[in-house]
Structure formats: C-alpha cells, structure tokens
C-alpha cells in the first residue's frame, strides 16, 4: 500500500537584500526579506538563482544561518569559493537593496534539528553554518542546554560567528594557530548518550569526525552528516 506522502511545492520568490556582513575575509552573511516566508528548520538551506539578461542562469544552495524565528527574514552565509560563479557574484556585486531570486527552505528532517532533543553539533570550516542555526535556535528558545557545538577552524580569523560563539555550550578548536586537530578527547566529554549528532564539513572532515565519534562509543546510526566540496 502506498502511504500518503506530503509533497511540497517550492516556488521561486524575489528576496530583498537587507544587509551584508563579513564573517571572515572569505565569508559573508546576507540578510534577506522574503515576500512569501515559509517556516524553516535549523539545518535547511535555500537555493539562490542568478539570471543574466540572455536567460542564462546559475544557482547554488546555501545553508540558512539564522534561527527559525517567525520573521519573514533569513540569513544565508556564503563562502567565497575560488572561481565560484555564484559566490563571487554574491561577494563582489550584491548590495543592500538588491533583489535575489531564492527558493526554499529545502532539505527535510534528516539534517535538521527540531529544537526539542539533545544534539551534539560538530562543524568544520563553513560547515558551521547550519549548526549555528541550531545553536541560535537553542539559545532563542531558552534551551541552550540541549546543544553542544564543536567548531573546527584553521585560525581565529577563519572562525565564523566568532562574537557569538563563546558560551558554556561551545568548543572552538583552532587547527593551525591553536593546538591542532580535533581529537577523540575533545569529543568524549561532550557525549551524553542518546543525542542526535550533526556533523557538517568537507568529506574528509565528516569521515574523520564520524570515526572519532564511533571510537568514543557514539552509535553511527545517530550520526547525521552533511558534506560538501570536491573529493580527491
């Protein structure tokens, strides 16, 4: 028998750029006003589509950095990639007041934190973006105790959301300027048992963290990973 399924139709809408903010020298956060806002979960993403006068389009997906708030506004943090057709445009051309075509939120319940269960979040580089939405969500609903966030960045300058990270629920590991890579000893004290674990970063980062978590007894079935970027 076929179970009834919920199929969502997502339409393109034209968002207005409300603000542009630098996170690091290569990452920038865009605050967008949505004419047709839809509730999102921390961990989902939006697609941004650029259209040239001749009809040529380019689109890319970007994680939502802001917490679900009920506001008709979202924030997307975009890493500038070398030769990144869309990310370079967003960094170099887009200004406050511009209009951008977007569609979302996309991504289902799998890599999304509903906000009512304990969660361990481990992010590398720009992989922290969806996890920051989860931490912001936890803080905004007054349940930061539910979340533990571990962020791995190369140096202080590469750290996204640096001003918001200090807190009892966060751990920052600096791999170049600090004392080196994330280890099982960093993760073991943060594991409570029974939590959902969200890992986001490069494929190598996700595989390394998954192995570390397994080594400290986290069931692999409770680990959800979202990986991006090229592979060797």
């Amino acid at each position: 028998m076929s179970a009834p399924t919920h199929r969502k139709t997502l339409r393109w809408q034209i968002a207005r750029v409300l603000s542009v903010r630098d996170e690091t020298p290569s990452a920038r956060t865009f605050r967008l006003a949505l004419p047709d806002p839809r509730p999102h979960l921390a961990g989902q993403h939006y697609v941004v589509r650029l259209t040239a006068p001749d009809g040529y389009t380019a689109s890319r997906a970007y994680s939502i950095a802001s917490a679900p708030s009920g506001d008709p506004e979202i924030e997307l943090t975009v890493e500038r990639l070398p030769d990144g057709e869309v990310s370079e445009f967003l960094h170099d051309v887009v200004e406050i007041g511009d209009e951008l075509e977007v569609r979302g939120p996309i991504g289902g319940g799998f890599f999304a934190w509903p906000g009512d269960t304990p969660a361990l979040l481990v992010g590398g580089g720009s992989g922290v973006v969806p996890l920051m939405a989860m931490l912001r969500h936890a803080r905004s609903i007054g349940r930061p105790d539910l979340v533990r966030l571990v962020v791995s960045a190369r140096t202080e300058a590469d750290l996204y959301y640096a001003a918001e990270l200090p807190g009892p629920e966060t751990t920052v590991v600096l791999t170049r300027s600090g004392r080196g890579r994330l280890t099982a000893a960093d993760l073991a004290p943060l594991v409570r048992g029974g939590e959902d674990v969200f890992v986001c970063g490069s494929p190598a980062f996700c595989d390394t963290v998954t192995d570390l978590l397994a080594a400290v007894g986290v069931p692999v079935a409770s680990i959800r990973t979202e990986r991006f970027g090229p592979s060797a």
Partner: protein
C-alpha cells in the same frame, strides 16, 4: 524569470550542459546525507523483489559473473555540477531485470540501499539500456564516498537517482517517493527539463 542586476554569466555555454548546470571539470563533488558506510564485498548483495516472477539476489562474485556493460558519457547533479566524459563499468539493469522477470503490473521501482537511503523511478527509466549497477568509475573501483563498492547509475536523470551503496530494487505498481522526493525534490529529475524540485 527575474533578471539579476549585474549578472551576465561568465562562461560560454557548453551544449553538453543542461540548463543551470556548471562543468565540475576535474572535481567530483561529494554530497550525501548519510555517514559513509563501509561495506564488505564478501557480504554485499544486490536483489530484486516485489512484482517479479522470481525474486533474485546476487553476491559480489555472482553479479561480476554477469555480462559486463559500460556507460561512457556525462553525469549531472541537482546541486548544479555536471561531469563530462566519464566511464562506468558494471552490469546493465536490463540484465538484472531479465533474471527476475518483472510482472506486467510493475510500473515503478523503489531503489534500496545498504545505507537506508531510498529513491524512486518509473521502470521505464531503468530499462532499455538507460541504467546500470556499476562498481568501476573511470577504470578504478568506486570509492566508498562515491557509493562503492557499487551504486546505481541512471545518467539521464539527476544523480540523486543514482543511489550510492545500492542493495536492490523493489518493483511496485505505483510510485513510492524516496528520501529526497518526500523532502521536496522532483519525482523524476530530468536535468534537461530542470526537474529539480516538486512543482518544476
């Protein structure tokens, strides 16, 4: 379609690129939602079940004993990258289905994997030389992160249909949306029609 202020599009369009795609060139991006499973080929199986005359299951050695089939061509991911001129070696899904004997009522397939991921396809998109179970990419064994030891290959559709770590097909008399399809992605996923999300 709204024109974006200041955007001209930098690249000359390659006619092999479906709309909205870019050429990933030497890169083969990885994007999947599960932890990468580590599958032992000694215990790997691929099976066909559901609306068939005889359910069939192959071991790693048994599937390698079937006639080989190669795909040489392009692949397209819904996340907008495409790769040109790849080769994949494996076995045609036609060969596998012939062994199981689909019943006339079978119209769709649910694709099953060793990771729990699922996706759905009309049977017509799996037959007629359009789909493979493959274990080599560009002459080398598929790596774990690209779905090794074996994945489905349906290169005329977006690549989320080419399920990694494939474990089998279940033939059905109706369409049963899989993981991404329940989460807003299109049921079929034709890159040339830009069937990315439900409603496209």
């Amino acid at each position: 379609m709204a024109i974006t202020r200041g955007f001209t599009g930098r690249r000359a369009r390659d006619p092999r690129l479906p709309p909205g795609q870019y050429d990933a060139r030497d890169e083969w991006p990885v994007l999947h939602i599960e932890s990468t499973p580590s599958l032992d080929t000694a215990r790997w199986t691929f099976g066909i079940e559901g609306l068939v005359e005889r359910p069939v299951s192959w071991s790693w050695d048994e599937i390698h004993a079937l006639p080989r089939s190669r795909y040489a061509g392009d692949i397209h991911c819904v996340t907008t990258w495409s790769k040109f001129g790849m080769t994949f070696d494996g076995v045609s899904v036609d060969t596998l289905l012939d062994a199981a004997g689909p019943l006339p009522a079978a119209t769709h397939a649910e694709i099953l994997t060793h990771s729990g991921y699922t996706t759905n396809l009309p049977l017509a998109d799996l037959t007629g030389g359009k789909a493979w179970v493959v274990w080599d990419a560009d002459g080398k064994p598929l790596t774990r992160e690209h779905g090794g030891p074996a994945r489905l290959l349906v290169p005329h559709l977006y690549f989320w249909k080419s399920a990694k770590w494939v474990s089998g097909l279940r033939l059905l008399d109706h369409d049963e949306p899989g993981f991404w399809e329940r989460n807003g992605y299109h049921d079929r996923g034709d890159p040339w029609s830009e069937q990315r999300y439900q409603g496209d």
